[in-house]
Amino acid sequence: MLILVTGGSASGKSAHAERILCSRAPGARLYLATMQPFGRTAQYRIERHRKLRAGKGFETVERTTDLAGLRLQKRYDGILLEDLSNLLANEIYAPEGAGDRAHEAILSGIARLEPACETLVVVTNEVFSDGLPYDAQTIRYIETLGRLNAALAERADAVYESVCGILCTIREGI
């Protein structure tokens, strides 16, 4: 089972993704964190997400690039991957990232995660509507995230968008 949760910044998507995962995965839960812990903003977000997850029985694994190379020690009821926009930025911008092969690297990584659990919830981000002009590399980032979202949504069992903390159903069922 693959579930995609999207939304803009500060739209409540993390809280919904956790709630969806917890309701579907009663047993072992893994939180797969993709954010590089650099800078004050990142620290603030990581701390916020830690508080959200506290007491919900998540194991946490940090994985900022190369999802496909991740070796999990056991099978999980539910895995929460948070989030695609950070993972993609790491793959494109970090020295150890996949660079031009970011799209394929992330899709194959997610394909490896799916059989490792009953329910995989992937959090992604709506970054497509500020209408601002960007440099070529940023445009490539936006385009790649859009293609990733579309590719995952196509085979996801459900797609949701969080808007002002309200979970809107984009699609349920394939």
Partner: protein
């Protein structure tokens, strides 16, 4: 009754607020008020009290690339969190796209 109307810029949100909630006091451009509040060094979440019992209109500003300037990023975050808090209390949340209102919480009143 507390109502939140959101959507992108220039989607006729204020017109929807006027048409569907003529009897409520209207607060327009909440995203601008949040920026002013931050600029004054105050907590935008304190605006929540003054929005109860009114219809509030706010641009959805979170669907873009993380802004480079720290104050822009903080503003975007504050607008999102305030809208989440207001939406939780609101009797209805209406999202307007191309002038068409859709209730994502509660119901649109019949005209």
């Amino acid at each position: 009754m507390t109502i939140l109307i959101i959507g992108g810029a220039y989607q006729n949100k204020n017109e929807v607020a006027r048409r569907y909630y003529p009897d409520l006091v209207r607060v327009e451009d909440l995203h601008v008020r949040v920026r002013e509040t931050l600029a004054a060094g105050e907590d935008p979440m304190a605006l929540l009290d003054g929005l109860r019992g009114k219809v509030t209109v706010c641009d959805e500003v979170g669907c873009g690339i993380v802004p480079l300037r720290r104050e822009d990023e903080a503003w975007r975050e504050a607008v999102g969190r305030l809208c989440c808090a207001l939406a939780e209390e609101a009797d209805a949340v209406i999202r307007v796209l191309a002038g068409v209102p859709q209730a994502i919480k509660g119901e649109l009143p019949c005209l």
